[in-house]
Amino acid sequence: MQISDQLTQYLFSGLATGAIYALIGLGFAIIYNATGIINFAQGEFVMLGGMFTVTLINTTGLHPGVAVPCAIILTTVVGILFERLAIRPLKSATPLSLVIITIGGSILIRGIAMLFWDKDTHALPGFSGDEPITIYGASLMPQHLWIFAVTIVVIGMSKIFFSYTISGKAMRACSYNIRAASLIGIDVRRMVLFAFIISSAMGSLAGIIIAPLTMTSYDVGIMIGIKGFCAAIIGGMSSGFGTVLGGLLLGVLESLGAGLVSSGYKDAIAFVILLLILFIRPQGLFKKAETERV
């Protein structure tokens, strides 16, 4: 086995994992940009997507092509309920209370999922079989290609949405200055709801396409949510390429860390690098510094 082959395998494994983080990070970034909220329940949307799909396919025997959209819709309904019941009624929405309430929401969703389903892990068959494919000496699963493809499509769609549609532009306006946005007639509350719809749908999509690889259970949302958040932070909370690059970077770092340095400390390595990035460039790697108005 050549060292170069090893490196390509680390690289591809890292990119594949990174694409997952990127997809989840995008969900964080979209809500943040429209509302200023860091949604700690984002990881739970990922979990719900996977669990709904597993249930629909295994118990009702639906065709995956039907089950996947159904699962996305169901998760989106949860996202809407969450926004309506917990976020909107909030009177004094300080950043801290928003952090706490979304953490509370994630605990609640996880708890309900544990009782509604069970504590077991569930598997989902791959969308296009389970025969590995070889690229430049590195092995990947067909599912990895799905992940790459979906990530690219999602970035493309969010680019179009934010640049060319009225709602997208309105959401961007909210992210710059909520008061100014509402002055020019943008319904800020509707934009918040919109953001939750988009990001819960996106989170569940991520959860569905990774389930065949990573399997799913009621508690997968915590760690994967943190990693997604991490990706978004490295990318400077952008709802486009920044976060994607952040996710890929995180994935590759972990993979190289596990393969070359120490598998036990690979997450620690990733987080130390995250801290360094934050210390040196608090605004994220791929974003220009902003001056703060007071």
Binding site: Y32, I38, A86, P89, L90, K91, S92, T94, P95, L96, S97, V99, I100, I101, I103, G104, G105, S106, I107, L108, I109, R110, G111, I112, M114, L115, I222, I226, F229, C230, I233, M237, S262, G264, Y265, D267, A268, F271, V272, L274, L275, L278, F279, P282, V294
Partner: protein, 318 residues
């Protein structure tokens, strides 16, 4: 100032008579944990409530204190009291050093950074097996001793831990009412304004961060010496969240509120135990409802809530 003294005296008397009412009950043991949690919540509140800086990784400092004490006493045979002081100083210094870059961050970036810090500590507890015993834990930690008294039962530990807790509360109340406390609140409201007024905001924030970490480390040492056994599961992300919840429930910037928050969150599982697996759901609901309806915490929130209810009643009558 007299009122503060009175409040503190009432608390001290309560602490002194409670165990006689509960003698022999397992509740004394629960109250030991209330004490440790109070120290931690008060420490976090200094940072969160007064300086306005969030930390999602405080369980890490708690764990550092516990592991430092455990390793120094058990592996190297150092006197537990010396170990406790050494742990507290070392953790404070570490926090002081990390504090400068980390407290430059704001809002969610700070949340992410402290979260990451907590996870890094947790991974070290888990992975440095030769040092910490890894996931299966560290056992055989000696009890604390003063002269011929060994703190080896619930009642003695209760006394010891609540002594530390009361000292922490007293110091924090004094700090809050001092010049430093006012400067901290100024930072909380507007850092730039505070700086213009000649407050060295950056240094002050870092100092509070170090103090908060140091108190957490002492709580960790006490925890290690009373439990006799520690394992990484007690110092994870979940516990950081639990600590924040205690502070929020009690009210940001209210020292006695943190005590009440710690009390409720430690006793709550005892009450919820009859619900078995459902307790996690109830926990989540409490967090959400508290933030929605009592954002100022229980101590300040309940009078406010009552006041809001009362005029409404009158309107209905009238």
């Amino acid at each position: 100032m007299k009122r503060e003294l009175l409040k503190f005296l009432i608390l001290a008397i309560l602490v002194a008579i409670l165990p006689t009412l509960l003698s022999g009950s397992y509740l004394v043991n629960v109250l030991i944990f209330v004490g440790i949690h109070t120290m931690l919540a008060v420490a976090l509140n200094l940072l969160l409530g007064f300086a306005g800086q969030i930390s999602l990784g405080h369980a890490g400092f708690f764990g550092l204190g516990a592991y430092a004490s455990a390793i120094l006493t058990t592996t190297y045979g150092i006197n537990p009291w010396i170990a406790m002081v050494a742990a507290a100083v070392a953790v404070s210094l570490l926090a002081f050093a990390i504090g400068f870059p980390i407290l430059k961050l704001k809002g969610h970036y700070l949340a992410m950074a402290t979260l990451g810090l907590g996870i890094i500590f947790f991974i070290v507890f888990n992975e440095a097996v030769e040092l910490t015993g890894g996931p299966s834990g560290f056992s055989g930690i000696p009890n604390l001793k003063i002269g011929s008294i060994t703190f080896d039962n619930d009642l003695k530990n209760y006394g010891l831990i609540w002594l530390f807790t009361l000292v922490t509360v007293l110091l924090s109340v004094n700090l809050a009412n001092s010049r430093i406390g006012r400067a901290l609140r100024a930072i909380h409201d507007s850092e730039v304004a505070a700086r213009v007024m000649g407050v060295n905001a950056r240094l002050l924030k870092v100092q509070i961060f170090a103090l908060s970490a140091g108190i957490s480390a002492i709580a960790g040492s006490l925890y290690a010496h009373t439990m006799g056994f520690i394992s990484p599961t007690s110092f994870g992300f979940n516990f950081s969240i639990e600590l924040i919840t205690m502070v929020i429930i009690g009210g940001l910037g209210s020292i006695y509120g943190s005590l009440i928050g710690a009390f409720i969150l430690t006793i709550l599982p005892e009450a919820l135990r009859t619900f078995q697996d459902y307790d996690i759901i109830i926990y989540g609901i409490i967090l959400i409802l508290m933030t929605m309806f009592l954002p100022g915490g229980l101590v300040r929130g309940i009078p406010g809530l009552l006041a809001r209810l009362r005029p409404a009643d009158k309107q209905e009558e009238g």
